[in-house]
């Protein structure tokens, strides 16, 4: 029974980390209408920041400073936001679809930097030995405590996102999303508001990246996969209902459950089929997205306000 409980905790932890990512994307796309296809880049910034600050000293990369996680995580969020600042300043003037292209390119740049700047990131070998919070509690309670921590972070981000959406700031963002000219006529500066929303979302993604690195206890360029870090997050947001924070969380949990269930289902197939089923997983996620877009474009919980 205990192993199954632990497996459940693992799945929920990952779902929670994805929920943080999806909340960040919802701030950018759902609330402000910024089409960011570069979540991967901000996840990487946060993950590497936290990994380098907390890992033990190593000759393979800069530092390993051995900091505790609670000091490193806020800085990881800051790293995500700081990466978003120059990118946003340059590219937010682009219209939605061009912004999407620019962010894809930037995510790819970040990934290649992580792979090739050995002195900073350890290159393709990555960073190992990242401590996981509460590890010292041992096998049954350590993972449960980490799950509670992730849950607390998601709750905090959710409260923050809700407060943002309700505040005058959030109303301005929606106004810009829906009719930029009208917002301008009302005396708002869309560029500044867009940039702030972009950085806020990127901070959430940086924090999610930090949690991811500490959960896997490893960060490397091979772990930065556009399918799992960017594409899956979009599926989650659209499935849950972009614009709604609760939808973002629900979408993350639901799609992650489907993703994990397909892995388990594939393993039940006999012999050769089990290995071939790997390709069916991606197909099923794509199919789910198509069906949602066709039959329920507002997502599971609707588009919020």
């Amino acid at each position: 029974m205990e192993p199954l409980l632990l497996y459940g905790a693992t799945l929920l932890t990952l779902a929670g980390i994805y929920a943080a990512l999806t909340l960040g994307l919802n701030l950018q796309w759902g609330l402000t209408g910024l089409m960011n296809f570069g979540a991967l880049g901000f996840v990487a910034a946060g993950a590497y920041t936290s990994a380098l600050l907390t890992a033990p000293p190593s000759a393979m990369h800069v530092g390993g400073f051995g900091w505790p996680w609670f000091l490193a995580w806020p800085l990881a969020a800051l790293a995500g936001a700081l990466l978003a600042l120059p990118i946003g300043a340059i590219s937010l003037r682009l219209r939605t679809d061009y912004l999407a292209m620019a962010t894809i390119g930037i995510a790819e740049i970040v990934r290649l930097v992580a792979r090739n700047e050995d002195w900073l990131t350890g290159g393709p070998l990555g960073i190992t030995g990242i401590p996981r919070p509460f590890e010292s509690l041992g096998q049954p309670w350590g993972p449960v405590a980490f799950l509670l921590l992730v849950g607390a972070v998601v709750a905090l981000l959710y409260a923050m996102a809700e407060a943002t959406a309700r505040s005058p700031f959030g109303r301005t963002l929606r106004a810009i999303r829906d009719d930029e000219e009208a917002a301008k006529a009302a005396g708002r500066n869309p560029a500044a508001f867009r940039l702030q929303a972009f950085m806020l979302g990127a901070a959430c993604m940086g924090l999610a990246g930090a949690m991811l690195a500490h959960f896997f206890k490893f960060m490397g360029p091979d772990a930065l996969d556009p399918v799992t870090a960017t594409f899956l997050v979009w599926v989650m947001l659209i499935a849950g209902g972009s614009g709604s924070n609760r939808g973002a969380i629900l979408g993350a949990v639901a799609i992650w459950a489907v993703w994990a269930a397909t892995d388990w289902l594939a393993a039940q197939l006999p012999g050769e089929l089990a290995t071939r089923a790997a390709y069916v997983r991606l197909f099923m996620i794509g199919l789910a997205l198509q069906l949602i877009l066709l039959y329920r474009p507002q997502g599971l919980l609707g588009t919020g306000r």
Partner: protein, 411 residues
């Protein structure tokens, strides 16, 4: 109402049947679950079918010999890591926690092995035996003696390849290596050994996988320092074949040198035999005595007429399954800790030597209290203190459109 009564009666019957079944028989019939993590999709996917068949063959032989622990079967629980470390961690978590496996064969790639072992199998104390993780860094894991591999680490391969290249009369080599731990580690080891033997690396390039074309990189390499050959550290599906094809189309290099990653018949089939004639390289070797190797090859061919028993890491996968089966039998327990403690005992000398296909004999020996020493299809399989297998490196070359084995080398 009627339906309800019927269901209840059915439940009662089922319950009684369960009670009537002897408890011991049920416990014996319960299989021992062994996790198998392969990169069934992603960059390493081309390697998987023959390796998987090798592991399945070993399990079939063990089960045909009556299984382990007085009649329990070994059951393969499979997972695909998509050649991605994060997915590797997730699926290993599933195997360890939900499927409750006793031991794990895999993962295949070194980076995935390090990530998944650190996050999952080492804390849980699950023994893992990788058939193909070759990076030297795997030896350095702080693993409580849980991480083993039947593959030979890359340091040795780099040294052997450097010697072979010099012996072929080649002095100037250009290197194109996949930009990951495997490519960089192996090209670095080769470069050091090659220079020590008086060779020159004219230029080296780390390439990104899955690009539509590598002509620009190849042109740069070919134009610098007049290289006599191109050494390619790559995987076939994620760039290796494209590089060879690009180079052959423009006749950029007169000769090619490969490593274990490219030792695959599909490379020759897809790029064309004429372009690759004279290509040679190194791969995971076999130090097995000829009759042990022959027993394995014959059994493999019977079960899989269309797959290559000499393919990269195929024999290593087979041996990984065998040592796990033997360790369970030797420790008389499918507990993770017992398997861990007995892996070295059944693989290393001294002991009565048993080989591929001899599980029944090994069981008799173990039952009689004799210590066994498994000498496998890939080599003697002796685990050192770091859990690495000390084995051989194969020298292969392309001849008339087939990859043929030339020799098995130790240094």
């Amino acid at each position: 109402m009627t339906t309800f009564r019927l269901t209840r009666r059915a439940a009662l019957v089922a319950g009684t049947a369960g009670l009537a079944m002897p408890g011991i028989a049920r416990a014996q019939a319960e299989p021992v679950r062994i996790g198998v993590i392969m990169s069934a999709s992603g960059g390493l996917a081309a390697f998987v079918p023959p390796i998987r068949a090798g592991i399945a063959l070993a399990f079939d032989e063990i089960n045909a010999a009556g299984g382990v622990l007085g009649g329990r079967r070994l059951q393969m629980v499979e997972a695909d890591d998509q050649t991605n470390p994060q997915v590797g961690v997730t699926v290993m978590t599933r195997l360890v926690q939900a499927d409750n496996v006793a031991a794990i064969i895999g993962p295949m790639a070194s980076g995935i092995t390090i990530a998944a072992a650190n996050a999952v199998s080492i804390p849980a104390g699950v023994p893992i035996v990788s058939p193909s993780a070759t990076a030297p860094a795997v030896s350095d894991l702080n693993d409580n003696d849980t991480v083993f591999r039947t593959a030979v680490p890359d340091g040795l391969q780099g040294r052997v390849l450097a010697r072979l290249v010099r012996e072929a009369g080649i002095e100037r080599v250009a290197i194109m290596a996949v930009n990951n731990d495997y490519g960089r580690g192996l090209s670095g080891g080769f470069t050091a050994a090659f220079q020590a033997r008086g060779g020159t690396v004219t230029a080296a390039q780390n390439f990104e996988e899955n690009r539509p074309s590598y002509r620009a990189e190849l042109q740069t390499l070919a134009g610098r320092g007049n290289p006599q050959a191109l050494m390619l550290v790559a995987y076939p599906a994620s760039g290796g074949n494209t590089i060879l094809r690009n180079s052959a189309e423009n006749a950029m290099f007169p000769r090619y040198i490969g490593t274990d990653g490219m030792r695959d018949q599909s490379v020759v089939d897809q790029v064309g035999a004429r372009a690759l004639e004279g290509m040679f390289g190194t791969g995971p070797g076999s130090a097995a005595s000829p009759e042990r190797r022959a027993a394995y090859v014959a059994a493999y061919r019977r079960a899989n007429p269309n797959l290559d028993p000499g393919g990269g890491f195929v024999a290593q996968g087979y041996d990984a399954a065998y040592v796990i089966g033997l360790a369970i039998e030797a420790g008389r327990s499918a507990e993770r800790a017992a398997i861990r403690q007995n892996l070295r005992a059944v693989a290393n000398a001294p002991g009565e030597v048993v080989g591929p296909g001899e599980f029944a004999r090994a069981k008799q020996l173990l039952a009689a209290g004799t210590k066994v020493n498994y000498e496998g299809a890939s080599g003697p399989v002796e685990f050192n203190a770091a859990g690495d297998s000390e084995g051989r490196v194969e020298h292969w070359r392309v001849q008339d459109g087939r990859i043929v084995s030339v020799a098995q080398l130790a240094e």
